[in-house]
């Protein structure tokens, strides 16, 4: 990226990071809960989560609940059934 000294020049780019825009809010009704004793760290859930809210951590995975939409895709793809969808209501 070049340094631009012109004070009127702005570009619509941002560094990747958590944004306020995609937060789930209060409408999710079920959430994935990972049984880490069963998890084999294959990262299938990480690959398939449409919201990128599975966070690989120390060979296993955790969920970022601020952005998880509760769709259950992770639970479906887990080969060892380590993820169960739990009611939040």
């Amino acid at each position: 990226m070049m340094s631009l000294l012109l004070d009127y020049q702005y570009f619509p780019i941002t560094k990747p990071g958590k944004g306020a825009g995609g937060k789930t809010g209060s409408w999710r009704v079920i959430k994935p809960v990972i049984d880490l004793s069963k998890c084999i760290g294959c990262k299938a859930c990480f690959m398939f989560c449409p919201e990128s809210t599975i966070v690989p951590k120390g060979g296993k995975v955790t969920v970022d609940y601020e952005y998880c939409k509760g769709c259950g895709v992770c639970s479906n793809v887990c080969p060892v059934k380590a993820i169960s969808m739990v009611s939040e209501t």
Binding site: Y8, Q9, Y10, F11, P12, I13, T14, P16, G21
Partner: protein, 397 residues
């Protein structure tokens, strides 16, 4: 430099070659098709290295061009009419992303109904998208402006895409004498591409994602300022083109004038029919009518300064539009009228959908104007239009 008899489309393809374009997103649409055919031919003969990406629509043509440009490659595409309308969304994305891209529009009428002939409405309808918009009046200018477009687009004070309009068929398919610069001259004039940011897996950025209202508005203002500031930059690069490449056409101004200095009356228009207008002006001058012409070469940025300098104080200004803004005057007329408020400005809309308007029509229109026509907007038909045999639906019983 060599001289060659080529069409406007070949002139554009030659400009793309000389600019060492890295990628061309292509989808054919009349009358632009032979630009990409020519490029494909050059590619097949090993004359250019340009990557030619064939896609399934104009929307994708602009998307592919946009993607390549984001990755730091000099990128080009061309379109016309419905094709431009189809890529409209992407046209805005490119400008909003502030990424240098050049596109040529072989202008053509827009449906419905179907019509493949020349007019400017497709081009003028992109007026508010944030692109710099140049318009050629002969194949030589189409070549020169396309090369200059890359220089302007990639200037760090600008970083906006540039589209170059060219009358469909009248320029795109008509062959004339064109002076073709040498590769060394263009290499000297056009430095390697610069751009504000690139997509890079090592240093990822998000492009055009959600911005809150104030941030979004600030970005819009930035486009506005960059477009306004491009006025001087276009003149600067024009002068440099005259010096380094060819002095044949004067590019030191955004617009071009003819016998305007001592004129009482002025006509304003854009594109190829400026040639007919110039001949008409010569005829009227011989009759003692002091009339001149201002040809708009850049619709955006709109040089208020040049328009005022050239037109203010005239007894009357006639704008001849080959384009429509329904329910209002022609787009050029609206621009001119809002720039010179104290001068009388009249509008003629004509030449739509390929209607031929030649030197004699211009003589007729200009003399009528000097005599004084009353209406603000007049639609002019050179030939009588027969009773339109258009069917109406029958009543449903």
């Amino acid at each position: 430099m060599i001289r060659k008899i080529i069409s406007g489309n070949e002139a554009v393809a030659t400009a793309v070659k000389l600019a060492r374009v890295g990628l061309t997103g292509i989808y054919p649409i009349t009358p632009q098709t032979s630009i990409i055919e020519k490029l494909a031919e050059m590619k097949a003969q090993g004359e250019i290295q340009t990557e030619i990406v064939r896609v399934e629509s104009e929307h994708s043509a602009m998307a592919a061009t946009y993607g390549a440009a984001l990755a730091g490659i000099r990128a080009f595409t061309a379109t016309a009419s419905q094709g431009l309308l189809y890529m409209h969304e992407m046209v805005w994305w490119v400008a909003g992303s502030r990424v240098p891209v050049v596109m040529v529009v072989g202008t053509r009428a827009v449906g419905a109904p179907w019509n493949i002939w020349n007019e400017h409405t497709d081009f003028t309808s992109e007026r508010d998208s944030g692109w710099i918009m140049a318009f050629a009046s002969n194949p030589q200018e189409a070549l020169d402006l396309t090369i200059q477009a890359f220089r302007i687009s990639e200037d760090e004070r600008v970083f906006l895409p540039v589209m170059v309009g060219m009358d469909g068929f009248i320029l795109s398919h008509t062959k004339t004498n064109v002076l073709i610069p040498d590769q060394e001259q263009i290499d000297d004039y056009l430095p390697p591409r610069r751009q504000p940011y690139v997509i890079d897996p090592e240093d990822p950025v998000e492009i055009g994602n959600m911005f809150p209202p104030e941030g979004y508005m600030k970005l819009r203002e930035s486009i506005h300022l960059a477009l306004k500031n491009s006025e001087d930059i276009i003149r600067q690069h024009g002068r440099e083109y005259n010096k380094k490449v060819s002095p044949m056409i004067d590019y030191s101004t955004l617009n071009s004038s003819y016998r305007l200095e001592d004129a009482d009356y002025a006509v304003v228009l854009m594109g190829a029919w400026a040639g007919d207008a110039m001949e008409a002006i010569d005829v009227l001058r011989e009759k003692g009518i002091k009339i001149g012409m201002l040809r708009v070469r850049y619709l955006r940025p709109w040089s208020e300064k040049e328009i005022k300098e050239n037109l203010e104080g005239k007894k009357g200004v006639l704008v001849v539009d080959r384009s429509t803004s329904f329910g209002r005057g022609g787009p050029l007329y609206i621009e001119v009228k809002s720039t010179i408020q104290d001068t009388e400005v009249k509008d003629i809309v004509t030449g739509l959908g390929g209607v031929t308007v030649g030197k004699n029509d211009m003589i007729y229109l200009f003399s009528k104007f000097v005599e004084g026509i009353k209406e603000d907007v007049t639609w002019y038909y050179p030939k009588e239009v027969g009773k339109l045999d258009i069917r109406t639906p029958r009543d449903i019983e």
